[in-house]
């Protein structure tokens, strides 16, 4: 009996102390991890869709509250402003759209005058070789200089209609954010 109690106590103590240490480490590394993720995952896309800026869009990023989701939790988007001489002239926003397999994330660069600079796919799980063609510049280049206003119309890739629609939906969502939060962004 004594043995069993000792076993339980020792294992519980080891578990509890480990948990405590890990929660401290987690909190200490939370911010750097967030920054690194944005830097390595989002920055390449941001750099692709914005040009001619002299600031660091990732360092100058802003978060904007955009209402709540289905469960009532507050939702936020991150916008990456491109500035020249301190003046925001364009912004990169990520939108999501439903593709053939789950959500497609698209970074969209929008100029202040309401035209699209460029778009870049940040994440997708479309079929390799079919739906994944939406990543190619022959498809994404179609969005360049279009009016940043829904509906956005481009030629879908044959055989990958759903994926193409997903990208378009993501672009429209991103544009929607820019249009409804112009004041906060520019």
């Amino acid at each position: 009996m004594r043995d069993i109690i000792k076993m339980v106590v020792v294992l519980t103590l080891i578990g509890a102390v480990s948990g405590l240490i890990l929660s401290v480490v987690y909190n200490a590394t939370k911010e750097p991890i967030e920054y690194q993720t944005i830097k390595f995952v989002k920055e390449p896309a941001v750099k692709k869709v914005l040009t001619g800026y002299d600031n660091d869009p990732v360092a100058d990023r802003k978060t904007i509250a955009v209402g709540t989701d289905e469960k009532g939790n507050p939702r936020e988007i991150t916008v990456f402003p491109a500035k020249k001489a301190g003046d925001t002239f364009a912004v990169a926003v990520e939108g999501k759209g439903k593709g053939f397999h789950g959500l497609i994330g698209v970074m969209v660069g929008v100029r202040e005058d309401g035209t699209i600079l460029d778009v870049g796919i940040t994440s997708h799980s479309e079929t390799p070789g079919v739906g994944s063609k939406v990543e190619e510049s022959s498809f994404t280049d179609q969005f360049k200089s279009l009016k940043a206003k829904a509906p956005v119309k481009v030629d879908a890739i044959s055989g990958a209609t759903y994926s193409s629609k997903g990208v378009t939906a993501a672009v429209e969502q991103a544009i929607g954010y820019v249009n409804s939060f112009r004041k906060e962004i520019f």
Binding site: D3, K6, S18, L22, V25, T29, Q36
Partner: protein
């Protein structure tokens, strides 16, 4: 059993993974370049040293029936610490090593040292043991990674060292190449020790 011999045994006599032939999963999977080998080796060394210290400190309090569970909790905690810190400060390396960082938990070398050494010896000897084995593991991964990188992509530590028309031997970067490189290294090490013992005997 001196401190020195506990440290140096990990560097040649029982150098992992060649002598122990444990921990082969990360060895084969991540050694596609020298730098990946070093990263994986250092992460393993950190976990190995600290889990050895804590297992050794707690060895009198841990009932033998739950020792494996306790060791694993201790090891897993340090692995998560390594994972979080690496993600926060060495993201590029984290992305390459990926799933193999959490898999350090089940690296037999670490549990093996905790069970075979740290649970029977004091914290200072255990630190020496962990450091020796860890550095030995790092060296092995670095050598293996460098060989594969040299043949497979014609670079060393990311710098091109071969002539530009060199056709990379891409097979070496694939999993079968890992087995081939590991096998040749193992054979070489056995050959060297055989020559050594032959000379010692005559």
């Amino acid at each position: 059993m001196s401190l020195r011999s506990e440290f140096t045994k990990g560097l040649w006599e029982t150098i992992p993974p060649f002598r122990l032939v444990l921990g082969l999963c990360p060895t084969l999977a991540v050694t596609t370049s020298g730098i990946n080998g070093i990263g994986m080796g250092l992460a393993t060394t950190f976990v190995l040293v600290f889990s050895n210290i804590f297992v050794s400190l707690l060895r009198r309090y841990i009932p033998s029936q739950v020792r494996i569970a306790s060791f694993i909790v201790i090891i897993a905690s340090f692995v998560v610490i390594v994972e979080l810190v690496m993600q926060a400060y060495f993201f590029a390396l984290f992305k390459v090593l990926g799933i193999f960082i959490p898999l350090i938990v089940v690296n037999c070398i670490i549990l093996g040292r905790a069970e075979a050494f740290a649970s029977k010896n004091g914290p200072i000897l255990s630190t020496a043991d962990g450091l020796g084995i860890g550095i030995g593991f790092t060296m092995s991964l670095f050598v293996l990674g460098s060989i594969r990188e040299f043949l497979g992509s014609g670079t060393l530590l990311g710098l091109p060292v071969l002539w530009s028309s060199y056709e990379p031997f891409a097979f070496m970067l694939k999993p079968p190449g890992a087995f081939v490189a590991l096998g040749i290294l193992l054979a070489l090490i056995n050959l060297i020790s055989r020559l050594q013992s032959a000379r010692g005997g005559s």
